[in-house]
């Protein structure tokens, strides 16, 4: 990967006395709940500082405080480059002070152009007519992209048409354009959650170039390997309190970090028990599935088997789940299930569900769950909604529903464990558990998942992985589409690697993230995300 | 309504003065009061355009008048241009200035308070365009002139007739609720005149006024029933204009006062039918068709610079006793035969020398 090696360590030899960003005694209370308790940490110039913690531990909240979206309780102090920001921090002030945030879902308007998205909130009007000088704007943007490196992004294309890591570049460009080189701190709140390995490597190459100038990065993520591979120091939040502040990452392992986060050992995460399912049962057979990119995909999944689908963005692996479950229109193909054969052309989600196919989609907010409803309503929805025409107006059996929900809350250790909790008040990780429960509860013959553990902490990830494998053990066929090699390595018995629409390679036996990535990019290998510099670690 | 015994009180001599009034009020005319002053070289106006601007076209009465004006205009070769005031000052103003810009020969503004289009009407007159305002009480600050005339309508007379009937029907002890329109000043003055007459003809009668406006139709039923609750002795409800009839009936109904007799003024075919079907006790109507011809006549006289006479638009009181005598069809309504021999069209033609 270029950009990794063309940096000069000399860039960071002189340490300014003042930390780039210092947070002291930050306390945040929502009504009754205190979400952050006396948080203190600092970010040094030119370092990548990781902030980790369980879902709901307060990371996003802290980020939102730093960018002035939340106003912390009195007594909190935030200083940037030695200058104290007065509270409440106003978004534009914190920006002026040099705090930039790259938001969870990158915060871009898909239908506006790259240029508009980058310059939003910074447009300059001419003296009298207040007219925007598009040439100047474009020039300014171009300059930022040049700072970020060789890869050029066409300014007048819609963000919607960009590749995932190009989007990240745009978001970063918007964040860094106000920071002159060598100053300021960029906060990434789970900005990398959607990036595949390749994009991830590009991302860190770019980030490395930025911090090389002395600008710092505060990195909020759930992918511990990012921390282990890329971060200089790490701060761990647990239930809104600092567990360790600014510990050197050098030499730490993922399980060390997980231990710090959860306060307990998470054993057995890495090691996977081979599928021990009854192989005599009839397999689920997908025959010549064809979609827009996917061509003539045929595969058989034994009950109890977990098959992974992966590949580069756009290779089609992430279309399969939606094609199989009738969510997006397949051009052709069939699935054979215990219930019988199903033609995929013109398959409706309803009939897919009826014939035993359950889809756990990516994007729980948009496609997975309804935030305004209770956990119970969400979990039981697939059952309740498919009542017969006459059954439509028969009363719901609320007792049974609650039982079902309580059941799954307990099995997946959903927190808080209230069947009547409103979903949107739960953390992303717990929402993800509820989403899984919703579809496991339909007792499907074929369980199809897409990015099942995206943006959930290690604890939640463990629960989810075990639940999925448990579902397989009960004799279900499971299909996992994911671009996260760790996830695949944890879940799958074999992995099909796509390259433009067809299965290029199949991986079996002991799967390691390394193998998976190597096969995805047959040419490139899974390089370390970033060479940690001596100073950053000191 | 069970009003067998309380039929028109004409016969029993108890309230004879009123009784006689009633008898005449309920009779058709022997002849329409067509003006007598002949009008010369009317043909000079041929080809010119006059504007008819009703305050809104969403009231049947104006449709009738419009048709009549159209017929009248045609006989003298005037082109008629109708512009809907849509009830809003801006639209009315627009219509007036449209007429002014189009160099209209005359403007007939129907039921439009001068205040609502003061500037427009002033401008039109300054441009030498004669303005006929009908269905309004003359506005003292804008007296009749060479370019402005007010065609009086029997609003007060209708009110008085209705009250007369109520007085005799109630044997002189009625308690009346009037849903008085507060759209413009004229309706109030009609009711005032009616009240003055009532106090003479029926000293024991009681009158309650409930202001209603077309902007708040939804509130009329409850305000009506509120009054009825306040005064349970009310025995007659008068919806001043037919457009308020149904909300008024709704109010009476929801106060569950089946004993109350409902009456209305300026009735059109709809009101007549309601009377026939028994849901109304009495209505008065004014000769909208004749009015159309009168308006045209007034316009012609202004155009030709002739003095405008005092017109008198006939009105007639209808109850279940005489509703049977008339044909409840649109043709009948248009011809004006409800009020008397429908020969006035020819009379006007003669008057204008175009017969």
């Amino acid at each position: 990967m270029s950009g990794l090696h063309d940096q000069d360590p000399a860039g960071r030899t002189d340490l300014p006395p003042a930390p780039r960003l210092a947070v002291e005694g930050v306390t945040m209370t929502f009504g009754s709940a205190t979400v952050l308790r006396d948080v203190a940490m600092d970010v040094r110039p030119g370092e990548i500082h990781a902030l980790i913690g369980q879902n709901g531990s307060g990371k996003s909240t802290l980020a939102k405080i730093l960018t002035g979206l939340y106003c912390p309780d009195a007594g909190s102090r935030v200083t940037v480059d030695g200058v104290a920001l007065q509270l409440p921090i106003r978004p534009d002030e914190s920006r002026a002070a040099g705090v930039a945030v790259v938001h969870q879902n990158l915060g871009l308007v898909p239908d506006a152009t790259v240029l508009e998205n980058t310059r939003l909130g910074r447009f300059k009007g001419s003296r009298f007519l207040r007219r925007i000088d598009w040439k100047a704007e474009a020039a300014a943007t171009q300059a930022v992209f040049e700072r970020l490196g060789p890869r050029s992004v066409p300014l007048d294309t819609k963000v919607a048409d960009l590749h995932e890591d190009e989007k990240a570049v745009v978001a970063i460009a918007r964040a860094v354009q106000d920071l002159e080189d060598g100053r300021g701190v960029i906060i990434f709140d789970e900005s990398t959650r959607a990036l595949g390995r390749e994009s991830l490597e590009r991302f860190y190459a770019l980030l490395d170039r930025i911090v090389a100038t002395g600008t710092s990065a505060l990195l909020i993520t759930h992918r511990l390997e990012e921390v282990v591979e890329a971060a200089d120091r790490v701060t761990v939040l647990r239930d809104g309190e600092i567990v360790v502040a600014g510990k050197d990452v050098e030499g730490m392992t993922k399980s060390d970090l997980a231990h710090l986060m959860l306060g307990r050992e998470v054993e057995g995460l890495e090691h996977r028990t081979a599928a021990d399912a009854a192989t005599d049962a009839a397999p689920v057979v997908v025959d010549r599935l064809t979609g827009r990119t996917v061509r003539e995909l045929s595969l058989r999944i034994r009950p109890g088997e977990v098959v992974g689908l992966t590949g580069l963005g756009g290779s089609g692996h992430d279309d399969v789940p939606y094609l199989i479950s009738g969510v997006s229109k397949a051009k052709g193909g069939t699935v054979t299930l215990p219930a019988g054969q199903v033609a995929l052309k013109g398959l409706s989600p309803a009939s897919a569900i009826k014939s035993g196919i359950a889809l756990v989609p990516e994007g729980r907010e948009s496609a997975g769950l309804v935030g305004g409803m209770t956990v119970t309503e969400n979990i039981s929805f697939p059952q309740t909604c498919t009542a017969s025409a006459s059954g439509q107006v028969r009363p719901l059996r609320s007792g049974a529903e609650r039982q079902l929900a309580a059941d799954w809350i307990e099995r997946l250790d959903v927190r808080p464990p209230w069947p009547h909790a409103v979903l949107e008040n739960m953390s992303g990780g717990n929402q993800q558990k509820v989403l899984l429960a919703k579809w496991l509860a339909t007792d499907p013959a074929l369980l199809v998942l897409h990015e099942p553990t995206q943006a959930v902490d290690v604890g939640a990830r463990k629960t989810i992985v075990e639940a999925v494998r448990g579902a397989a053990r009960e004799g279900r066929a499971v299909l996992v589409a994911s671009s996260d090699e760790n996830e695949l390595a944890l879940l799958c018995d074999r992995v099909l690697v796509f390259s433009d629409g067809v299965v290029g390679r199949e991986l079996t036996g002991e799967l390691t993230p390394h193998d998976i990535v190597r096969t995805i990019y047959t040419d490139s290998s899974r390089t370390k995300l970033r060479e940690r510099s001596p100073q950053g670690a000191s | 309504a069970d009003s067998e015994d309380t039929a028109s009180a004409g016969p029993d001599g108890s309230t004879s003065a009123v009784g006689n009034n009633l008898v005449t009020a309920m009779k058709p005319l022997d002849a329409y009061p067509v003006p007598t002053e002949k009008l010369d070289n009317v043909d000079s106006v041929a080809g010119k355009t006059i504007f008819y601007v009703p305050i809104t076209k969403q009231a049947p009465q104006f449709t009738t008048t419009e048709k009549a004006v159209a017929a009248a205009a045609e006989t003298v070769g005037l082109r008629l241009q109708v512009c809907d005031g849509k009830g809003t000052p801006t639209d009315i103003g627009g219509c007036i200035s449209q007429a002014t810009d189009a160099k209209a020969a005359a403007i007939i503004a129907d039921a439009i308070p001068y205040a609502l289009a003061a500037n427009g009407l002033d401008a039109a007159q300054k441009a030498g365009i004669p303005v006929v305002i009908s269905n309004q009480v003359p506005d003292p600050s804008h007296p009749a002139s060479k370019t402005l005339t007010w065609v009086q309508v029997p609003g007060s007379e209708q009110q008085i007739r209705l009250f007369d009937w109520i007085a005799s029907d109630s044997k002189g002890k009625a308690n009346i609720l009037v849903n008085q329109s507060s759209d413009g000043l004229s309706p109030a003055s009609y009711v005032a005149d009616g009240k003055a007459a009532l106090t003479k003809s029926c000293p024991d009668c009681k009158l309650t006024i409930n202001k209603v406006t077309s902007s708040n139709f939804a509130l009329i039923p409850s305000s009506t029933s509120a009054v009825l609750l306040k005064d349970p002795t009310i025995s007659y409800a008068d919806a001043q204009f037919e457009q308020y009839l149904q909300p008024t009936q709704g109010g009476v109904q929801q106060a569950s006062r089946t004993d109350i007799k409902v009456v209305t003024g300026s009735a059109s075919l709809g009101g007549m039918k309601a009377l026939k079907s028994g849901s109304l006790a009495a209505v008065t109507a004014q000769a909208a068709a004749f009015q159309g011809w009168v308006n045209t006549d007034a316009a012609l006289r202004l155009i030709l610079g002739k003095p405008v006479p005092e017109y008198n638009i006939p009105t007639r009181l209808f109850t279940k006793d005489n509703i049977g005598d008339i044909k409840l069809t649109e043709e009948a309504e248009l011809s004006g035969e409800w009020f008397g021999p429908a020969t006035f069209t020819d009379d006007f033609k003669k008057l204008w020398g175009v017969a």
């Binding site: 989600p349 209770t374 909604c385 609320s398 | 409850s222 305000s223 609750l229 929801q254 059109s268």
Partner: protein, 347 residues
């Protein structure tokens, strides 16, 4: 981007609660403090207080069965109940308010009357025809919005204006009347001292609430309202639900129209538009009652009678029409504002 008017404003202030259309249907963790209680029942309290006040000020007139009849038994309230129910049909499935219900209501009433009076149809046939017509109108709305994807306001506003024109045309701009007097019993037949139409409305709203909260259909409707995509993936026939909602709205509006035509023995095409504002007022005031931030039938029903009480009381105090407008507007803003504030407190 849902077109549904979430009953509370967009979550603006950073600490402001999640979009309230998603306020808990079922009581959630946070203790049911006084605030929680207030945010639900404040308006009802005010209603009672108002009633007491009027009773004290006007004992002789307000404290009568007559005024009860006016408040609960009046035809305009019955009409409002049906119209708000029609409005709710589409709102709960996440459509923007259906602006055509009022005209559709009026059209049904006019059709019934003219078909019977001017064209000599039997009442039965006329009723049937007008119901079919207004249901069809609803279906067309649904088809345009859901299938063709035209903006809801455009379709319903346009359709409303169009239907108004039609109604004016068939009635020749005139109030029509002349329905057989015995036919009015289907609306006015007194039951326990109130006209039966009150009980129609009551049943309608209670049934609506039941369907919404206790049946799969209602669950589906609410999910579709919250997120079409989630519902689709769960196997709900989203298009069907949405078109169904529009069609039902048409039907309910039609029934309402037929009833009020029956009650008054006719209809005036010009008044139907004047219902629009009261409908909106009641429906949105309903979001401040029982289920704060949520459109809910019972709340709406209460809102209708609340407003009626206030208006009647004021009129008994001799207030002129401007007072009632002030009351309408004031109550709507104040009540919903208070409940919004309370709700955000109670989280």
């Amino acid at each position: 981007m849902s077109e549904m008017p979430t009953a509370a404003g967009p979550t603006t202030g950073v600490t402001s609660p999640p979009a309230p259309a998603s306020a808990p249907a079922v009581p959630v963790k946070h203790s049911r403090g006084g605030v929680w209680f207030a945010s639900r029942f404040a308006v009802i309290g005010v209603w009672i207080a108002l009633a007491v006040l009027f009773a004290v000020l006007r004992p002789d007139t307000f404290m009568t069965s007559g005024s009860l009849k006016v408040i609960f038994g009046s035809q305009s309230q019955a009409a409002l109940v049906f119209l708000t129910a029609a409005l709710l049909c589409t709102i709960v499935v996440g459509e923007f308010v259906d602006m055509s219900v009022a005209s559709n209501f009026g059209l049904a009433a006019i059709m019934l009357t003219t078909l019977h009076v001017n064209h000599g149809w039997s009442v039965g046939a006329a009723v049937l025809a007008s119901l079919v017509l207004s249901t069809a109108v609803g279906a067309v709305n649904g088809w345009l919005v859901v299938k063709v994807g035209v903006n809801t306001i455009v379709v319903t506003l346009g359709m409303g204006t169009f239907l108004l024109g039609i109604a004016l045309w068939v009635s020749d701009l005139m109030p029509v009347s002349g329905l057989p007097t015995d036919f009015k019993d289907i609306a006015l037949q007194p039951v326990a001292g109130l006209p039966i139409s009150f009980f129609y409305g009551l049943t309608l709203m209670l049934g609506f609430a039941y369907v919404l909260h206790f049946t799969p259909l209602g669950r589906n409707m609410r999910f579709v309202g919250e997120s079409r995509e989630v519902s689709r993936l769960a196997g709900v026939r989203v298009t069907r639900v949405r078109i169904g909602a529009f069609t039902t709205a048409g039907l309910i509006a039609g029934v309402g129209g037929v009833l009020s035509a029956a009650a008054t023995g006719g209809f005036d095409p010009n008044v139907s538009q004047s219902y629009l504002l009261p409908i909106f007022a009641a429906t949105f005031l309903g979001t401040a009652i029982l289920q704060p931030g949520r459109f809910n039938p019972i709340g709406t029903l209460i809102a209708v009678f609340f407003l009626a009480t206030g208006v009647l009381g004021l009129q008994l105090l001799g207030a002129t029409s401007w007072v009632t407008s002030v009351f309408y507007g004031g109550v709507l803003v104040v009540a919903v504002t208070i409940s919004t504030v309370l709700r955000s407190r109670s989280r």
